[in-house]
Symmetry: C2
Subunit: 656 residues, 2 copies
């Protein structure tokens, strides 16, 4: 058996690296400017001590930078690095024997046991000599002095630590010079190198607002990019960062659905924006009633001027009138009778939409055309794509598409709109989706929220799955909102915006729209999917001021930009949820929410004081950022009463 690779291997072992996902087959995610923690089991055979370093390489650099790791417990070490640019970082760990540290530790033990150490002192001097070749200047001079001191002939018997040779040997300044300028012999470097996707900040943090531009017209007229642009300042004033537009392309007329999903459209019915494509074009065309390409570009620029980014919908499906149907019939499924197969989820049928057959022999051309769609909109200033039902298209396609696009445009963000099984949703995130829709709308009780958030924030999902908590969507009006009245809207907004660094609302939420198509349905009555829904944007019966306040709190408090810092606090009522987020150098935020929209609740909140950086013995102030009211609290147990008809939640800044 080949002996060489074994003979040459270092003593150190590095295992269970926290950043490694599926044995290195997938990349974890990070954002620019924020420390990326790296932990690992690091140990060696025998009693010798180790040194360990995180090594990382920026996408634009060829050199590797290093950051020291520290020992935690039970052979676990930790360190971190701060990525300075977006793109794909390489990360590994290196570990090697700390000969001087080992010698110094053993010398202490020998001296404590009053053993003779003359030979050990010469061994230490020889060790220090090896460091002379890597140390310069003052530090080199100090090292030389230490070597001389170790070798000095003692002027008489001195006891243990009083021996000047031993004092020189144990001098902590010498230890730190040697640790800084270590001689790296026989180092072990973790393989394979781990790749990390570093996104811009918006990849992880942002407030999203969804609206249909076609609903912004006045007097029942079809909206345009111009009328939609008039809404932008309102949205910006509420504190949103991203505007998500459902498809803005031509809509098919063949098998068009009518209002409330009627099988046959009435004259004048506007159709479903996701039935993409008509004689005017497909995925790179604009709905003629919305406006021209120039008007769209103007809309994007006006949004940018207000600090808003536009996210477009990317729905890979076609109306029967889409140009691809004629140009590329081989991209679709054909029935034995020669017809093209429309979308189905047996027994449900979607006659106005043809799914694309990704198993087509001509898939290379299909994939290229789809990438061309993304590239087209990037060239029009769009950098965020909300992808419709990605789980019904091949995983391999998404991995290729996102990698190909981000190779040239690492700032492009993809949001996966997949509501499906947990592992399928996770896989899309692993394959490259920047953010993901979640089960949040269906998590309404304390137990459900705690369990789900623990999975997102405290399992390995935190490495790769970034939640985007939408309170509602054009498809999902949860029973909690249907029945809970305005307090329910406040509760869900607080939870979405304060639990998750990225969250969103679909327009109408601020006006408490809550009427379902029928009992038991999560569909809106008069769903905007099938008709125009003009809104009284200037109405004062609106949650807008509350939303504005919440978004201000989010922007001012950096601890709300992180998910993994989420900590729960005890309450003695199942209806009351308490959680906090704390970040170094910022005031911790403590949120207490009454999940019962119908009735006041009072309870004792039992704080995890350590999570808030608080001292058991000293009183502290909690300042409600929603109402500008302060309370003086003390110790872990404090009384809270929340009346949903007044305020269902406290959002406290904790002041030590």
């Amino acid at each position: 058996m080949a002996m060489k690779p074994y003979l040459k291997r270092g003593h150190a072992v590095i295992e269970r690296v926290s950043l490694e996902l599926d044995g290195g087959r997938h990349r974890p995610k990070a954002v620019v400017g924020e420390a990326v923690p790296v932990s690992a089991d690091i140990f060696r055979d025998g009693p010798d001590m180790l040194l360990a370093l995180v090594r990382y390489q920026a996408p634009s650099e060829s050199r590797w930078r290093e950051a020291p790791m520290t020992f935690v417990d039970n052979d676990r070490w930790t360190g971190d690095f701060v990525p300075a640019e977006i793109g794909r970082y390489k990360v590994t760990i290196t570990a090697f024997t700390n000969h001087f540290g080992t010698w110094r530790r053993d010398l202490s033990r020998r001296v404590e046991a009053r053993q003779q150490v003359d030979l050990e002192l010469e061994e230490g001097a020889a060790l220090l000599e090896r460091h002379l070749k890597v140390v310069r200047g003052d530090e080199r001079r100090m090292l030389k002095e230490a070597i001389s001191a170790l070798r000095a002939v003692p002027d008489g018997p001195k006891d243990g630590f009083e021996d000047p040779r031993i004092a020189a040997a144990l001098d902590s300044r010498i230890a730190s010079i040697v640790a800084r300028h270590h001689v790296r012999e026989n180092a072990t470097t973790y393989k394979p190198v781990i790749e990390v996707t570093v996104d811009r900040e918006r990849g992880r943090v942002g407030a999203w607002y969804e609206f249909f531009p076609r609903s912004t017209g006045e007097n029942d007229r079809h909206g345009t990019f111009e009328t939609a642009a008039q809404l932008l300042p309102v949205i910006a004033d509420m504190g949103f960062d991203v505007i998500y537009l459902p498809p803005i392309h031509p809509i098919g007329t063949t098998a068009r659905k009518g209002r409330n999903n009627a099988l046959v459209a009435a004259p004048g019915d506007v159709g479903v924006p996701w039935a993409i494509g008509g004689p005017e074009g497909g995925h790179t065309a604009l709905h003629p009633q919305l406006g021209t390409s120039v008007e769209f570009d103007d809309f994007v620029v006006r949004a940018q001027g207000l600090g808003l980014e536009i996210a477009l919908d990317f729905a890979i499906q076609c109306s029967p009138d889409h140009p691809w149907v004629k140009q590329h019939p081989e991209w679709f499924h054909h029935r034995p009778d020669g017809t093209i197969k429309y979308a189905e989820n047996p027994p449900k049928k979607y006659q106005d939409v043809y799914p694309v057959n990704f198993d087509t022999d001509n898939r290379e051309e299909l994939w290229r055309e789809l990438k061309a769609v993304i590239d087209f909109w990037i060239s029009h200033g769009v950098k965020i794509f909300r992808v419709d039902n990605p789980h019904t298209k091949p995983f391999a396609f998404w991995e290729w598409l996102i990698e190909s696009v981000q190779k040239k445009h690492p700032d492009v963000i993809f949001l996966a709109e997949a509501f499906t099984r947990p592992k399928v949703m996770s896989e899309l995130a692993k394959l490259g989706f920047t953010q993901s829709y979640t089960y949040f709308t269906w998590r309404n009780t304390k137990w459900e929220l705690v369990e789900y958030l623990n999975e997102l924030a405290h399992s390995d999902m935190a490495l790769y799955f970034r939640p985007n908590f939408f309170t509602n969507t054009q498809d999902i009006l949860h029973d909690y909102l249907q029945t809970g009245g305005p307090p329910a809207f406040k509760v869900r907004l607080c939870l979405a915006a304060l639990l998750s660094p990225t969250y969103g609302i679909y327009s109408g939420f601020e006006f408490f729209e809550n009427v379902a198509r029928e009992p038991g349905s999560e569909e809106y009555l008069h769903s905007e999917k099938y008709e125009l829904r003009p809104r009284a944007w200037g109405s004062t019966d609106s949650l807008a001021p509350y939303i504005t306040r919440i978004n201000q709190i989010r922007r001012k408090n950096p601890s709300l930009s992180t998910l993994t810092n989420l900590r729960w606090h005890g309450t003695d009522r199942d209806q009351v949820l308490a959680f906090s987020k704390a970040s170094p150098g910022a005031e911790p935020i403590l949120v207490v929410v009454n999940l019962n929209p119908f009735h006041w609740e009072e309870c004792t909140v039992s704080l995890d004081l350590g999570a808030l950086g608080l001292d058991e013995a000293r009183p502290f102030e909690v300042h409600d950022l929603l109402t500008d009211t302060s309370y003086s609290w003390s110790g872990p147990h404090n009384y809270v009463r929340l009346d949903p008809s007044v305020e269902p939640a406290h959002v406290f800044a904790v002041r030590r």
Copy 2:
């Protein structure tokens, strides 16, 4: 970006394969003849169904065998395979779309919704036609008939499931023919292939007995292989499988330790067997007072004749008189004064032993010489090695040594005697040690036992770490045995032998030897490490009958040969531990132990009836295999009283 690999990839994803250890960098363990479970997350994009198979390749075969996997829940699948030979197996998983199953599921849904399905039936016929190329004989005939039935012109309108075409389509016999003879298109196969070390049964199951041959002489004479051989029938009668002998090599005289670890030996002191080597030779020589090579070979053969295997100690260290010290001074550490460094664990010193310097430049020759030692004893019929302190030698050396040895002799077993930090002990097991010493001696309370056994049996350690529970060793006499009297010895024997498939005792245990060198010490007074300890082997004041009974129970009940089947049962006393083991086709064994050696305990045992295959409603019999007494129990809650002065444990066969 290269598109090809993405375009060619299958739809299925396979992740989190249960057998994969550290991303494939280490091998899990199995034994011949026992099913190896393989689970994984398996799913695909879109709504189509999958089929999945475990694929495995025996070391002597070039073809891959396959076993079907079944869906469990939440995209988790499971299957298994039974290795038929020892050596290194290759294992992977393959998954692919189940087109016919998907079509059949959707057809049912359509028919239930009373939809028109003429086109679907033609699609199904076309799917079945694709299977004709892989099906022969009667099955092919049945398939052809089904295709005709699907395409038959109906003789009148029939409703849904009564339509003979639909009955033919949903015929379960057709579904199973198609599943057996699947057409495997665009399959995903898990990479990298997982390697599994398959050992002989003794790798996992066995009862060990340790004794010093030198203590078997009569009238204070030094024992020999001949006197030791006279003890073999006694040990075989007690039901042991393996005899472990401490080093049997010449012992150094330089710096020899005296009785009770005295720094200076008195004349006639026999020295420590681990101070290996003298003028007579080193690791391949025999202690001249024990006997000749021929006598050793005879001892091995006589053991084999009694169904006993000999395990030798492999301690890589030398007395100052070992031939290697002169032949290879470069294999040792040298001090600045030119002396060779003896073993130390500062401030402790072991002057009679030189450790080997594995960092020597001449390490290749060193490694080869050490392997030659193992090969030498293999040539003398030894197939089990208990390795002394492997954690103080390089991990890389062990990985190389064990792989090299097992490549030629896959039946050789290595037991790691490492009592050190958990991750270091785990690493040795991952690198190839067949079995490992454990923390068992220091786990005496219920909480400690449950926590530790859960780690061994129910964490990923179960994949690679096989415990060998020694009740005592020449180095470890736990306080529990020092103070608990004979009941303590029974308790610890029950726990070791019934919790762990492999366990052992060090001789003297059966005679309740319990005197420590001094209070607070775990060393034996008059430790056999430093002097002869002749024993009254025929004494009737012995645990031998109890040990014999326990070993009989172990051999008769296959459920005790497995660790992962361990289940806990509730008791309302902290002093009483209850656990069971059940295996398919065997009577479950239920053990209830009073851990308090000083006092009787009574309690209610609350059984997990499901774990015992019992029915809540039906009474059952528990038959104590130690006392041949039966009790009739019913339901989960049953009364138990255990008096340690009579019997501290019940070992029940559970009879349904």
